[in-house]
Every structure is written in C-alpha cells, then in structure tokens.
C-alpha cells in the first residue's frame, strides 16, 4: 500500500507520472500523449548526442518503445523525465560506443582524415581564427558540433543534459547513475575541453590562445 500512496503523491506533483501510470495500465492513448509531449525534447537531446537527425529519431523512437515495453515495471520515483532520460542515456551511450567499434565509413590510406576527425583546434593551429562576427552561423555551428563530438560520450551526455535539459548535477547524476561529485568533475572536464576547442571563437581580452601539441584523450571514466 505504501507504494500505492507514494505513487499517488508523485502523480499529484508530476503530471507526467500520472500519464505514465496510465501507460502502465495499458492505456494506449496515454502513451500517444506521452510521445507527443516528449518527442521534441528527446529527439533534440539525441540529436545533440549523435549529430544525425535520422539516427536521433531512431534512438528516440527506441526509447519510447522501451518505455512502453517496460511499462509494467515502472515505479514512480523522482521526476518522470529523469526515468525517461535514464533509458535514453543507456541507449545513446550504447549506440555511440557501438558506432565507435564499427565505423561505417572506413578511412582509406593516405586520407588526411585517417588520423581522426578534424578537431576544432586544427582550425586554430592552421589558420588565423576569423573574427567571431564574420563567422557564419552555420560554420560556427559546425565548429561547435565538432567541439561537442570531441568530448567523450559521458562528458557529452552530461553537457547536453545540463545545457539543453537544464538538469542540475543531482538530476544528471541520477540519469547517468553517477555520484553528484563525479558529475561535477565530469562537467568540469567537459567545459574545460569545450573552452579549449572553441578558444579561437571566444572573444576574450588577452593574449592569443595557445594550444596543446597533442590531441586530448581523456576517455577514462571521470567518476570516482
């Protein structure tokens, strides 16, 4: 009965939980409403994570399907969005790792890109950084995209949840199943790396930026 009371209290606070409880009771209309309500956020987050819209939609769709398949196991706790993005987190991280293991476009010998994707600091090293006001928005978007891609998948996830889902560290920790302290460290490293990658496009008074000689690689887990 305690669970029932908890559910009722949660549902009062979070209309999405109320909706999910209807989904749990096999209400298809409720599921449709849930999809309708969360599709923009979920596709948006997935797109920021994987960079491709079609793949983002595939992943978002799979998240919804997993929600439906696991509806009977759903127990209201915290915010519904946290539960949803926990599923999204697992799926997206698996997808990104899977893609790393099986690159779809093989690099040919002699291809200058064979050493890896073009990094944002390649721009800074090889040419003078263009003044920000002259950088076309889409060009800048591409640069930022590369900077985001340059983060490891966990950093990227944390940044996306923090930036675009406006989640605090505790919520991110719950979604990513980390401690709050680990999230703090993760985001610190991520934002430092972003600043480094985007240095050429940041208008800060002071001497020209310098760049490290070797590519950054901090793929190791950040959590404690």
């Amino acid at each position: 009965m305690a669970t029932g009371q908890t559910s009722a209290l949660m549902a009062l606070r979070d209309p999405d939980i109320r909706l999910m409880l209807r989904v749990r009771a096999d209400d298809r209309e409720a599921f449709a409403e849930l999809v309708e309500r969360y599709q923009h956020r979920l596709v948006g987050v997935m797109h920021h994570l994987v960079g491709r819209r079609d793949e983002a939609e595939d992943l978002a769709q799979e998240v919804f399907l997993r929600v439906y398949r696991n509806r009977h196991k759903y127990t209201p706790q915290a915010k519904f969005a946290t539960w949803l993005f926990t599923i999204a987190n697992n799926l997206a991280l698996n997808s990104i790792r899977d893609r790393k293991r099986r690159p779809t476009v093989p690099f040919e010998a002699g291809d200058p890109a064979a050493s890896g994707p073009l990094l944002a600091h390649d721009y800074g090293v090889n040419r003078d950084p263009p003044p920000p006001h002259k950088v076309q928005q889409d060009e800048l978007a591409a640069v930022v995209r590369r900077a985001l891609d340059d983060l490891n998948e966990r950093q990227r996830m944390a940044v996306v949840l923090n930036k675009f889902e406006d989640m605090n560290y505790a919520e991110i920790a719950e979604v990513m199943e980390l401690t709050t302290k680990a999230v703090k460290s993760l985001l610190s490293r991520a934002r430092a790396k972003l600043r480094e990658s985007l240095q050429a496009y940041i208008d800060v008074d002071g001497p020209p930026p310098t760049y490290p000689a070797g590519p950054a690689d901090d793929d190791s887990p950040d959590e404690e």
Partner: protein
C-alpha cells in the same frame, strides 16, 4: 589535456549555480582578485554559450505516428504466434549486432529506390503495422536466409505489396503503370547495401510475411530482364505515391485486410486526389454538375485529354535527343532514303487523303474527298504535322501523327482489282443473308464510302443478328488478295509460321474479317516483325513502336 585542478571543478560548479553560500563566496573572492581566474571563468561561460549555435532538431511531422504505429504488431500478432516477441520488441539499431549486408552487384538490377523516401519518411516503421501481419505463421517453413540480402535491398519497394499478383494488378491499372514512368535512371544500380534499419524491419515480420516477401522477390527476379525493367517503375511509382500520402491515409491503406480491398482503396484514393488536383475552374464545373452521368462524362473527357498530353510528352521525352539534340536529324524512317515517300504513299492509300490539298475551310462541306478515312480534325492534324516536317524538318511530329492515326484506323487488305469493294449499301454482296433486312439508313453514315470500315460494320451487324458473315464481304484467302499482299502471305509469312500458327491461319480461310486480321497479327509478332505491303506502315512495326509508340509494348 585540459586543466583539471580542483579549482576548475569549483569554478564550473559556481557557473552552474551548484555551489552553496560559503563555496560560492570563496569562488567570488578568487574571481575578484585574480585576472587569470576571471578570464578562465569567462572562457568557460562563453564556450558553454556557444552551444546555443547548435541546430535544434525537431522530430519529423510523422514521428509520433510512426512511433505509436510500431506498437501495432503487439496487438495484431497473438502472443502464441511463432515469433511472439520479435515484432513487439524490435531490437535496437544500436544494440543489435547486425553485420552490414553486402549486396552483390548482380543482385542490384532493381534499384534500392534510394529516391523513394520510404525510410526517411518512416514507412519502414509503418511496415510493422502492415496488414500482412495478419498472416498465420508458416509452420515449419525453412527460411532461405541466404537470399535475404536481395529482398532487403528491395524492401522499400515491397512494403505496400502483398505478392506478385498485386504487382500485376498495379500494372494493369492506369494508376502506376509503367507506360508513363520515367525511363530507368543510369547509375541507380550502384545503390547502397541494405541498411540495418531494413534488416531490423524485415526480421520484425512474422515468418509468413518474410516468406511472402521472398517469394515476391523471387517471382519478380525470375522475370525476363525487359519485364523486370518494365515493372520496376510500377513499384517505384506506387512506393513514391504511398510515401507522399499523409500518415493516416497511408496507415489506413496498409491496414486493409485483403489485396483486393487495398487495390480498391488505392484506386478510390487516387481518383479523389486526381479530382482534388484539377484546376479550380474544372473543380467548380464538376461541383456545379448535378447529373452523375454528366459528371462521369466530364471526368472521362478530361482524363482522355490528359492521357493524350501525357502520351505525347512521353514520346517526346524518349525522343528528346532526336528532337532537340545538337545533332538533330530526321528520325527513322524519314532518315532512310525514299522512306518518306513510302509513308506518304501509305497515307494516300490507307487514309485516302492527299496531303497536298489545302487545309479545309471551317464551313466547307466537301473539302475532303469521298472515301477519306480521316475526319476533318484528323486531316488538319496530319497535314499540319506533314507541313511541319517538310518545311521545318519536324519529322518526328509527322511520324507520331501517322503512327497514331494508323492505330486509330487500322486497315485491311483490299479485294483484288476489279472485285467490288464493299463501302456502301449498294455494294453489299448478293450472298448477304435474306433475313438481313436492316434499312440502309440504319448504317452509321460515318463509315459509308470507306473501306474496310463499312464492311466491318456490316460484319458486326451480322454477328449482332446471329447471322453468318458473308465470305464475299472482303478477301479472306490468299488468292483473294492483290498481288503484294498475296505474295507476302504465301512467300514471306506462311513459310515462317510454326505449324500451329499455320493451322490456325488455315482454319480461318473463308472467314472475313478474321482471316486478314490474323495475318496482320501474326506479321506484327515480335519474332516476325513484318510490315504488310499496302496495308500497314512501311518498315518494321517494332521500330514504329520504338520511335513513335506511346508506351513500350507489354510482353
């Protein structure tokens, strides 16, 4: 390596509003006294702000529908089915360990339909809701997975298709027929290998549907290459049409319980779209027409006009290089010495008109000679085309006109010189049955004076009155034909016929118009491809069809 000292963690947390009072004040104090720290904080903040430049992806308009539709199999397929979990719990693209499939070049005769936006539009997802799921699982059927790569490569074309009979039905309609489809695009054979998405979709089908798709694929690929090329655009057109439908309508179509019901629904929807796409004045006219008969007549007339335009465009598209290419030249047969004159002779002999005559006046009554088999409009059309050819070099236009009119006014061999030609009531043969008492005025005046039109009308009336058709209506044995036709039949055609064909022809001797009609049909067969002197257009029928036919001939 980016800086990672503990101070950075605090700085970032401060910027994120995650520090409590004391910790926040400590960072603020540091920022107040340390220029480097301030720059560092500013850099962190601006870098974070730059993320706003990332484009925000919105889900496709049909995303929600596609997602919800993917639940359908869970409802349609009973849990006890052979593969209960596959459709209801499709594997994820990421988690599935599907190795990319490689399609051998030889298997790519049918393009992957990359132009078809099936996948992007999400019809793949709808495939899960396809009515084919209602099939009973095939018990014990061994799956031929070795050939699945080919099925997968063509799956976008098969999604709305039940089986080969359905393809034939699509082909038979005027909706997606290959006649007006674009010619095969060069280079489309090098399509991509089947995607994991297709593979996932395919594996999500019940066994019976997979077997059905394999059979469909096998049936199509067992066809002769030319027939495959002809049917491919049918499937592409259908797939594209389905792709462009609103989600709800597409879903409704795919959920129809039987192929016949689906075809009916497709036809009705197509017709409705056609009416909706009419220009506004035509829509208004249709709306203002009360009588159902008149409405049907209006629609019929507009469709006929549309078909004529489409026909002409289709031919023009095929002959574009000839018409407008850099090396524009007279097309066959006008490129052959003397052939233009033979065509003119044919026009005189068969249409019974003289293109040297001036265009008839609107109110003139006898501008066309008696016996002319063309009406005034047809004569104007043919003469204009002829003038355009002789004066401006537009031989293609003339060829189209001659070919079209030859099909509208097929000819039959004339009787031997000196024998009566049945073109009027007065020339009706004496052996006409006594009970054949139709008054002369009952005959269609449009056929009077014209061979073989009048005689054909008499024959039709005999059949209608269940009377024998008199043998003397027209030549119906080799000996009855004038020399060029007789020689052709006896020396050219008959020696080449198979025994069955020869027997069939022999049995029709004495029957008019069946005998001469069979002669023409046999001569026109692709394996013979003969012109019948003085009766059909000069030159091989296949060449006329190739250059001027409205549509590639069906097998």
């Amino acid at each position: 390596m980016p800086p990672t000292d503990p101070g950075d963690d605090e700085l970032t947390a401060y910027l994120d509003g995650e520090l409590d009072g004391a910790a926040a004040r400590a960072v603020e104090a540091k920022l107040a006294n340390d220029l480097t720290a301030r720059r560092q904080a500013e850099g962190l903040k601006k870098a974070f702000d730059l993320l706003d430049y990332l484009p925000k992806a919105e889900p496709s308009p049909d995303f929600a529908t596609r997602t919800i539709t993917r639940l359908q199999p869970a409802v349609v397929v009973p849990p006890a089915a052979a593969e209960p979990a596959v459709a209801a719990t499709p594997t994820t693209p990421s988690a599935s360990a599907v190795a990319p499939l490689v399609v051998p070049q030889s298997a790519r005769r049918w393009p992957h339909a990359a132009a078809v936006a099936w996948l992007a539009a999400g019809v793949v997802a709808l495939g899960h809701g396809y009515a084919g799921h209602r099939l009973a699982p095939a018990s014990g059927a061994a799956e031929d997975q070795a050939n699945d790569y080919r099925v997968l490569a063509h799956l976008p074309l098969y999604l709305g298709v039940e089986d080969f009979d359905y393809v034939k039905a699509l082909d038979a309609t005027e909706l997606f027929g290959a006649e007006y489809a674009a010619p095969p695009r060069a280079g489309t054979d090098g399509d991509a290998a089947p995607t994991e998405r297709l593979s996932e979709l395919f594996r999500g089908y019940p066994v019976a549907r997979r077997q059905q798709l394999r059979k469909l694929d096998g049936d199509l690929h067992d066809l002769p290459a030319a027939e495959q090329d002809r049917l491919r655009p049918v499937l592409e057109n259908y797939a594209l049409w389905l792709d462009r439908l609103p989600d709800a309508e597409r879903r409704e179509l795919l959920a129809t319980p039987t192929p016949a019901a689906r075809l009916e629904a497709v036809t009705q929807l197509y017709q409705r779209q056609w009416r909706d796409d009419l220009p506004q004045p035509q829509r208004a006219k249709l709306a203002a027409t009360v009588s159902a008969t008149e409405k049907a007549e209006l629609v019929g007339a507009w469709k006929a006009a549309e078909k004529a335009r489409r026909d002409e465009w289709h031919v023009a598209r095929r002959q574009w290089p000839t018409l407008f290419g850099r090396d524009r030249q007279a097309p066959w047969p006008f490129s052959e010495p003397g052939f233009a004159k033979q065509v003119d002779d044919y026009v005189k002999a068969v249409f019974k008109v003289d293109l040297a005559l001036p265009l008839p006046k609107i109110d003139g009554k006898s501008e066309l000679p008696g016996g002319a088999r063309l009406n005034r409009a047809e004569f104007v059309y043919l003469k204009s085309a002829h003038d355009s050819a002789t004066k401006e070099g537009n031989w293609f236009v003339y060829g189209v006109a001659v070919h079209r009119l030859s099909q509208q006014h097929p000819y039959l061999p004339e009787p031997l010189p000196g024998r009566p030609v049945v073109t009027t009531v007065a020339t009706l043969p004496a052996d006409l049955p006594p009970r054949f008492k139709l008054p002369p005025k009952s005959f269609d005046t449009a056929t009077r004076g014209k061979w073989p039109d009048f005689a054909l009308e008499v024959a039709r009336k005999c059949v209608a009155e269940r009377l024998p058709v008199p043998e003397s209506l027209g030549p119906c044995r080799p000996a009855d034909f004038a020399e060029p036709v007789r020689d052709f039949v006896t020396k050219v055609l008959v020696p080449r016929l198979t025994e069955a064909e020869r027997d069939g022809l022999k049995k029709l001797e004495g029957k008019w118009p069946e005998y001469p009609q069979l002669v023409l049909s046999l001569a026109k067969l692709p394996k013979y491809d003969f012109a019948v002197p003085t009766v059909t257009l000069p030159g091989a029928p296949s060449l006329w069809a190739k250059y001027y036919g409205f549509a590639p001939a069906k097998e």
